[in-house]
Amino acid sequence: MSVTTPTAGTISRPDLARLLAGPAADGRLVAPVRTAPGVVLFAPVRDPGALTLEYVNSTVSPKGCLFPQSEKILGWRGGGPKLDLYSPPEPQPLVLFGVRPCDLRAITVLEPVFGGGYPDPYWRRRRELTTVVGLGCTEPGPYCFCVAWGISPVAAPEADLMLTPVDPGYLVQSQSPKGEELLRRSGVSLQAAGTEPAVLRERRTAELTARFRRLIDPTGVEAAAERLFDHPYWRELARRCLGCGICTYVCPTCHCFNVIDRTAPDGSGGRYRCWDSCLFERFTLQASGHNPRPTRAERLRNRLLHKLSYHRSRYGLEGCTGCGRCVAACPVNIDITEVVADLKGMMT
């Protein structure tokens, strides 16, 4: 993603609606929508007025725009000796608005997984077709801890267009050709930015960092996790785990998937890539009946260690971005920040 000379400036609130009016009109805008009390989801939005700006973060991460929960990866016709494959339809170009810095960092966290040795064309294509509009935070949420991983709540290079709320409007920073394209097509002109964007971000980051409810220091947790692999802590923690998929499905960096074939009555069919969860019982069950992770303890350990250790040792990147969704959504209060503190505590 080549970064051209970043143009920056401010726009007013009504300008924001104009910025998004084009994509919204032709059904290409995905933005946060309050769908139920306490539930904000990224959804297609036809009228910019329908999206919400009063949200700390969405209940489910916007990962689904780049790595959909169910995606047809190929189809076939015929069967037996006569069979041919066909490609799925092209995904639709999208404008994804309202992505917080923790979810923007998640794109970088997932890049080596879907890029890497065997580049994944589906992720690549959706990345190319999606213009990501980031929105800086004004207030840390009750369960956020992004700064613990060195993420600024108001800055993220992954966004094509980065908005930072400044009264009365927004500071807009275009960080890619796609960002500039969106600005140009919307006809919204940027007024001169009062203070230097970088300076403003610096100040805002420091301000917000002081207002986080709790901050963890994850340094050393990777070594702790390695050493405590066999510790009974995991079995004790997993006693209350329901073994459901909530924490993995709301998470912006979980990337595990299953490949499932579906057949129509006439024998033709499609192959789907769908989200899967290492918490599910059958995730590692082998045809022979052997399961390397037979109980919830091993599975919960695998999920937490993937975030706190494995992702880093495989890709040199933290596996967690501190969005706090799994802390908010877990029905039995399995809190990853508490696990980090426990693991480090057990090492001293």
Partner: protein, 318 residues
């Protein structure tokens, strides 16, 4: 609820110290004041981890199944709604009553965390039950909230403040009073036109993540191997789509039909707040209409509406 907590701790310590049970499953404080979580106390000195406050919503009875095949006895804290699960699990042959000690709690009604967050305008708060209502405290503020406006949805139509089965009662009995209509929401949905009903449920199931939290939290979902996990035959497509989400919820509702005790856990654990219980409550209403059946688990042994045949049963399709 403070004296309930003290009674609970004392009784748990006594049971553990006396070797009557090897484990006490109850509620404990969470990683943050607004969270409560299941705790598994296996030593007398850990008894003071046990608490009871207006957030203790989880139905702990399903955890008993994890210890069913292990030696020793387990004690579990049960509220009124949870205790119906005990009766139902016994009726399903899932529970050996001798191996379980029931710490019954007379529950006056719990607070709805979502409503409390709206009242406090933030999510980091603490709540305590007081005779006149819920005392809500957050950094820099405090309010006394009227009880019936902030009760959890399930508690507004509570049928059993007092456990229907227990080995000991840890609070003073609460006057049950007349149960308000539990099927108001079901009737509202029934009053819609078929197209409106279809649109209503489609919109809800469209946001279902198929995370299976509703199934994993449900005390009536006790199959050893669930059909939704088995790829062969794939009764319901594992691919998340409107059709398979609808099929999943209908099939699950039918599988727990006549056994769902209306404890409200599926509602509570759903990460995208789908009012799942209105499906189960529709079935409960039909069971009441067709067979005059009370809420499953109200008593044990009791004839199960879908497992027994009576000559008076209606034969609509004969």
């Amino acid at each position: 609820m403070k004296e309930i907590t003290l009674n609970l701790r004392a009784r748990a310590m006594e049971l553990l110290a006396g070797g009557r049970v090897d484990l006490v499953i109850g509620y404990g404080t969470g990683s943050l004041p607004e969270f409560v979580r299941p705790v598994f106390v296996d030593r007398p000195e850990r008894a003071e981890e046990l608490i009871f406050n207006p957030l203790c919503a989880q139905n702990l009875t399903k955890y008993i199944l994890d210890y069913r095949d292990q030696p020793g006895r387990v004690a579990v804290v049960v509220k009124g709604c949870d205790s119906r699960s005990i009766n139902q699990m016994m009726a399903d042959g899932q529970l050996d009553r001798e191996k379980v000690f029931l710490l019954g709690i007379n529950c006056p009604g719990l607070a709805d965390p979502v409503l409390l967050s709206v009242a406090a305008g933030r999510r980091d708060w603490q709540v305590e039950a007081e005779p006149e209502g819920f005392r809500l405290r957050w950094p820099g503020g405090e309010r006394l909230l009227p009880r019936d406006e902030f009760l959890m949805y399930r508690c507004r139509t509570c049928e059993h403040h007092n456990p229907v089965v227990s080995d000991v009662l840890l609070g003073d009995p609460i006057l049950q009073g007349e149960t308000p209509d539990r099927f108001a929401e079901v009737r509202r949905i029934e009053s819609l036109t078929p197209e409106e009903r279809a649109a209503y449920w489609d919109a809800l199931f469209a946001r279902c993540l198929r995370c299976y939290a509703c199934r994993n939290a449900c005390p009536a979902c006790t199959c050893r191997e669930c059909i939704f996990d088995r790829p062969e035959p794939e009764w319901v497509a594992r691919v998340v789509a409107p059709q398979s989400n609808l099929a999943y919820h209908l099939v699950r509702a039918m599988h727990v039909a006549g056994r769902c005790v209306d404890c409200g856990e599926c509602d509570r654990v759903c990460p995208v707040a789908i009012p799942l219980r209105e499906i189960n409550r529709k079935i409960l209403k039909e069971l009441a209409v067709l067979f005059g059946a009370p809420t499953p688990g109200t008593s044990h042994p009791a004839p199960e509406p879908l497992a027994t045949f009576a000559v008076t049963d209606p034969e609509v399709w004969l």
